[in-house]
């Protein structure tokens, strides 16, 4: 009887062991698949586009002759738009998240309603934000088809994402930290400012960088608000007209000449490079904040 019991135990644990290994294997496979797709994508983009990237390409304006075309105006336009978008969206987004997490009255119908709306807004197609931006900023506010109008439209687009991710980061801060702070007689502002926000900073920054990466890759809302496709001057201020890399890529890839397809591939490499630089900067900053 004792023997039988042991045997049963072993077979059962064998089965469990198999399941355990199988699950591990499936997870590994998923990671491998994701990495393989990323490598394949990067390889195909870089192998077709890298040959076109040169200092001439980076410092020239668009041209009707594919070999002379460049992305100077588009790079600067993209940086301007993402920069202003960050400056506007980050404080508003983080402040909204702080309110919803730290100040909201529990079980209030209003905050629940706001919460559901923010989640839904995060899923609205970007072109809809473009239409909103056209009416609100370009026409009503009279900003024209400027960098400022484009950046504010992008702000609307990424705000829900910034808020949601910042909220998650704030939720992850242990209650005990807040309680200890209050226990020492700190006010709510002091608690948030000196304890909660610094602890949540790495998570918030992850959210911000994901949102800004989305903003730099969008073209539809900017086309809607009237960003240009060819521009002969570089933007000097927030009221200037502009173009961005995704619009330039979209235009070149739809041209009949083979040379423009190469230019589009080159511009994609530039866009990816900017994204990778932005992301690595964020990772470095985050690692510092954790220390």
């Amino acid at each position: 009887m004792n023997f039988l019991f042991l045997r049963r135990l072993r077979t059962r644990s064998n089965k469990r062991w198999v399941k355990d290994k199988l699950f591990e294997f499936i997870c590994q496979l998923s990671v491998l698949l994701a990495v393989a797709i990323l490598i394949a994508l990067l390889w195909s983009v870089f192998s077709t586009g890298i040959g076109r990237v040169s200092s001439q390409f980076l410092t020239s304006f668009p041209s009707r002759i594919p070999q002379n075309a460049g992305v100077k105006a588009a790079i600067l336009g993209s940086l301007w738009v993402v920069g202003i978008t960050g400056i506007v969206a980050i404080p508003i987004g983080v402040a909204a998240a702080v309110y919803l997490e730290e100040y909201k009255i529990r079980d209030s119908k209003l905050t629940d309603f706001i919460q559901i709306n923010i989640s839904n807004l995060a899923g609205v197609p970007s072109i809809v934000y473009g239409l909103l931006g056209l009416e609100l900023f370009v026409r009503l506010a009279g900003l024209g088809r400027s960098i400022l109008a484009g950046s504010l439209t992008m702000t609307l687009l990424i705000l829900p994402m910034v808020i949601i991710v910042s909220q998650e980061a704030l939720k992850a801060v242990p209650r005990t930290i807040r309680e200890a702070s209050y226990g020492l007689g700190a006010t709510r502002w002091q608690t948030i400012r000196y304890q909660v926000l610094p602890s949540a900073l790495p998570g918030i920054m992850t959210g911000i960088i994901l949102s800004l990466s989305r903003a730099i890759g969008e073209s539809a809302p900017l086309i809607t608000i009237g960003a240009v496709t060819y521009i002969s001057s570089i933007p000097e201020g927030v009221n200037d007209r502009f173009t961005v890399l995704p619009i330039q890529i979209f235009d070149w890839s739809s041209r009949p000449q083979k040379g423009f397809q190469d230019a589009a591939a080159g511009a994609i490499v530039v866009l990816l490079a900017i994204l990778l630089i932005m992301n690595s900067l964020a990772i470095i900053l985050r690692a510092r904040a954790r220390r």
Binding site: F61, P62, S63, R64, I65, I84, I87, V88, I90, P91, G142, L143, G144, R145, S146, L148, R193, Y194, L197, P198, S199, L201, I223, G226, A227, V228, T229, Y230, I231, S232, S233, G237, V238, N239, R241, D251, S253, S254, R255, P256, Q257, K258, Q261, R288, A289
Partner: protein, 352 residues
């Protein structure tokens, strides 16, 4: 524990962000006020012109606007060009609101669009700039479809078409299913093709592969032995090794599109003029716009062919320049007309 330094950094960035927003806000107020007169000043300079030229409109015309902007920019370094491509209809909307100096169009202006412009006291000078030929294309392996008549094309493309196989088009064609590729419903190409072939604008069968991007159509037809598609001639020109042209017979025998047949109007009904509409107020007040229009009409012969389109006869550009000089407003084109040359059209009285 988070150290003192980080606290300072995060607080400083918060302050910096707030200040930046404030400054941005102020800036916008100031310079919108100073921006406006900028275009009109510098009127009497004999040297290089400055100011700004704002162009929008058809994405078909965009490569032409871009080419001329680039070339004129080389001569006159101080002019700021902003060329967008939000479509013929979208361009006319902004043009009617007085937001543009010039708008490109792949079809003549419509009566409703003239009305809209009139409401805002916007008058325009019509400048035809180039021809675009739509090409009907099959796969190079296709050995039977050499020529298609306009009636056969209509049978294929009309709404609720019964054509499922090539045999349904002509009885001696093989009974292979016909795969159709054509323009997406938002493009001017779609409007023009349906009007010229089916007879009514935007009237087309819907069970075909549609794309606004002609390169997608090129890929489709080149990869499918029994495909048939239509798109801009420039896309055929750049992909000749992968595609085969179909001659179009409008009753006078099959004609292939080529720069010659498109320009002299024999490739009918699938060649169309492309236009630029110039705001008369800009012509009056902005010397850079006037100089730009004169530049493009004088250089069109050389520059238009490099953009993949076909140049108009010399005489057409001369007449167009006369119209610009006399500031003749209104249009002399009504819908897609066939069997009349562009120079004759230009000599007609305009409708205002």
């Amino acid at each position: 524990m988070v150290d003192q330094r980080l606290r300072k950094i995060s607080f400083a960035s918060l302050v910096a962000a707030t200040v930046a927003i404030f400054v941005a806000g102020c800036n916008s107020g100031e310079s919108t006020a100073t921006d406006k007169p900028e275009g009109g000043t510098n009127a009497t300079t004999t040297e290089k012109l400055s100011g700004s030229i704002s162009i929008d409109g058809s994405s078909t015309v965009f490569p032409i606007s871009e080419a001329f902007s680039e070339e004129f920019g080389k001569e006159q370094g101080d002019i700021k060009f902003a060329v967008a491509s939000s479509g013929t209809g979208g361009g006319f909307k902004k043009f009617a609101a007085g937001e543009l100096d010039i708008t490109g169009a792949s079809r003549p202006i419509e009566a409703s669009e003239i009305e809209a412009a009139k409401k805002n006291n916007i008058e325009f000078v019509e400048v035809p700039i180039a021809f675009d030929g739509l090409s009907v294309i099959v796969n190079p392996k296709n050995s039977f479809a050499e020529t298609l008549t306009v009636a056969e094309l209509k049978k294929i493309w009309e709404p609720n078409s019964k054509v499922k196989t090539w045999k349904d088009v002509r009885s001696d064609f093989p009974a292979e299913p016909i795969k159709l590729y054509g323009a997406g419903t938002d493009s001017g190409t779609f409007d023009y093709f349906t009007k010229a072939i089916v007879g009514k604008e935007k009237s087309s069968r819907t069970d075909y592969q549609a794309s606004e991007d002609d390169n997608v159509l090129v890929q489709g037809v080149s990869g499918d032995e029994f495909a048939l598609g239509y798109f801009g001639y420039a896309y055929y020109e750049q992909n000749q090794d992968k595609l085969k042209l179909v001659k179009v017979d409008a009753g006078k025998g099959g004609i292939s599109p080529s720069p010659e047949t498109i320009a002299d109007g024999t490739y009918a009904p699938l060649s169309r003029p492309l236009f630029l509409y110039v705001n008369k107020k800009s012509l009056d007040d902005k010397p850079e716009v006037k100089a730009f229009v004169a530049f493009l009409l004088s250089k069109a012969k050389e520059i238009v062919p490099t953009t993949g389109y076909v140049q108009l006869p010399d005489e057409a550009y001369t007449i167009a320049q006369e119209r610009v000089d006399k500031k003749v407003v209104g249009t002399s084109f009504q819908g897609a007309e066939t069997g009349i040359t562009i120079t004759d059209l230009l000599k007609r009285e305009t409708v205002k």
